[in-house]
Symmetry: C2
Subunit: 385 residues, 2 copies
């Protein structure tokens, strides 16, 4: 396999983009990524679009042809990759394979999701398509409700207090304050989190990632074509799945797919968790942040909150995490989220993270989750000069 | 790049499968493909699912996790690939890249579409998602209507008679009679075609591919792992796109994406059109069969009907085409169609095509189209022993 580098990144602010359509958001991010890479659109060899719900929410499929045309990259191979909320990370893996294979040199992977102009019931329906329509959806449970089951079971099994788990949201907002692309840049207190309305008991509103619109894009290419002072290589890239629904799992507090995907990515990158300088992980709800820290190998089961309480996920800690606001505060434009994470890791490795910079970061990891741990992508990036 | 072979194929009959869900159809085809390859499900390294409309018609996304679980391939990387009616061919290209890259050995690509239990207006809406929702769908034109524009313009530009174009449907039904997986196995006459109701003037009902359900799967792997008496290699694999909508094209009677994808595939396979022994191409409407023959390089523009009239697309002709019924009679279960085509080509190269066998076929081509020529995949297979 050829070695693959990230040559450019581009993104839009995450927010309610009432004035921009799905295609405009995508083109804005993709054009910025091309500019960052110093490439002309005519140099692109292929394109992947990460998106979950354009069919249901915009009535629009066939995003590969549509968005390559609107970007001005007429004729290139292009298609949509869907893996629920993990679409971004999984599409990145396809782009990685496309370059690694040697068939394509310059490949754009862009994620986009436009949700805020749909009615709420349609958004809930769209998100619930991530779980089983024949066996789970008919019970009436929502996607938040499924995560609430995990949350409550986790607290009971490991005797962990909600006050500690909910700290994840406070952390996210603290760092989003310095991220101009984040959906929420206000700081919040633990009291505010715990006194916010319950969405699905025990999950509070301020423990939940918001609905929003956004697009993010990266350009991948052969390592040897990488220019610039800093070169960021894709050191490990992996995807794993699990049983789609919770009732088929042995233990709903452990995400088997995170364990499988991360161990594979560590092996490819020849690193261990202790070597990782910074991570972006998929904390769609506070409890998932805790579980991710454990399943990625940074804490024993039941001990994830210790890392949070002891400041180990802050800059200067053992595993600086979600330093641009995570899903809670940067936002979670579904199909684009995994690519926002990767861009944030690139910023860290390039030393462009501003106030949220982890000094000297060389190795970063991005974990993107679809469903309640049903699909997980783990990508490990490394600064190679 | 590693050389890639097709190790196994499996499929279901195309029909109205009232008694089988989307997941059952997929598992049936995938299990058959595994058996044909002599592989256990635990040997699979990755999986791609080709599908267009499960989100809108079944309310189900996240098919990668769902279907890998139901197949029994727990944990493997899996995702959905969507490129409208070209989803199958495009997903095959991703599976090709996955094996060619060297990261994965045994990769399953399976397509599935379940349409017949949706109401007609929903099916029309779902199919129209292949074209532009902001600029075209609001005009009220249907997907058949767009093809009708192409049909009428083609007849005027090249002074070709509908009686000749419509022969494509007669041809398809003739060969489907020997295909136990085909949706329609009755023979039809030209008179029947031309006297059938108009769906969108000038397209008659019997010139249009039907709505149906089906699933088809192939197993790809490294060429050197291929066992058996006959080895089928993926000699060329290419995808191209074009402007999504007709009003952006210079000439709506030529499919630029077919020209681009086929020339690239010929180049990879080091063959020319005259070397190809058999093809399966995307004749969703009779006119498309004619245009495909031209754009694939088998006839000059305006001369495609000559091949049909002179028997050149029959067994024994210059370019035996759609020998299992094409989209008109084998059927067109959208996301699976491109994989049905590839399986039919594999049968030819293996000498398993029964009454429809092209004797000694060594090189076969499958062309799969999404939208009105907006995405085209061309895959060329070669028998290598």
């Amino acid at each position: 396999m050829r070695r693959v580098a990230i040559l450019g990144v581009g993104l839009t602010e995450v927010k309610e983009h009432w004035d921009k359509s799905l295609r405009k958001l995508f083109v804005e991010a993709a054009t910025a990524a091309l500019k960052d890479a110093g490439l002309d659109v005519n140099q692109l060899d292929a394109m992947y679009v990460a998106n979950m719900s354009s069919g249901y929410l915009q009535g629009q499929e066939h995003l590969g042809s549509l968005l390559s045309t609107w970007l001005g990259a007429k004729g290139i191979p292009a298609c949509k990759i869907e893996a629920a909320c993990a679409s971004g990370g999984v599409a990145f893996h396809q782009a990685f394979l496309a370059v690694a294979s040697g068939l394509y040199d310059y490949v754009l992977v862009g994620g986009v999701e436009k949700m805020s102009d749909a009615i709420t019931s349609d958004i809930l329906t769209a998100l619930m398509m991530a779980d089983d329509q024949d066996y789970i959806a008919p019970t009436g449970v929502t996607f938040v409700g499924l995560n609430a089951l995990v949350y409550r079971y986790y607290m009971a099994k490991y005797r962990v207090r909600q006050e500690d788990i909910a700290l994840m949201a406070v952390h996210d907002h603290e760092y989003a304050a310095n991220n101009p692309y984040a959906q929420f840049r206000n700081r919040i207190t633990l009291d505010q989190v715990l006194s916010s309305p319950l969405v699905a008991d025990p999950i509070h509103l301020l423990e939940s990632s918001p609905i929003g619109d956004g697009a993010a894009a990266l350009i991948l290419g052969p390592l040897e074509r990488s220019k610039g002072e800093v070169v960021v290589e894709v050191a490990g890239s992996s995807v794993a799945t699990d049983n789609l629904s919770l009732q088929l799992r042995e233990d709903i507090t452990t995400m088997y797919a995170t364990i499988k995907a991360s161990r594979e990515a560590y092996r490819m990158a020849k690193v261990e968790p202790k070597d990782v300088d910074v991570i972006e992980m998929h904390d769609a709800f506070t409890i998932l942040g805790v579980i991710n820290l454990e399943d990625l190998g940074f804490a024993e089961k039941g001990k994830g909150v210790e890392l949070i309480k002891e400041g180990e996920i802050e800059i200067g800690g053992k595993v600086p995490s979600n330093l641009f606001g995570g899903l809670k505060a940067r936002g979670h434009p579904v199909g684009a989220t995994g690519l926002y994470q990767l861009i944030e890791v690139v910023w860290q490795l390039r030393g462009e993270a501003g106030k949220n910079q982890v000094e000297g970061a060389e190795i970063g990891l991005a974990q993107n989750v679809g469903g309640v741990g049903s699909t997980v992508s783990v990508n490990i990036l490394r600064r190679v000069k």
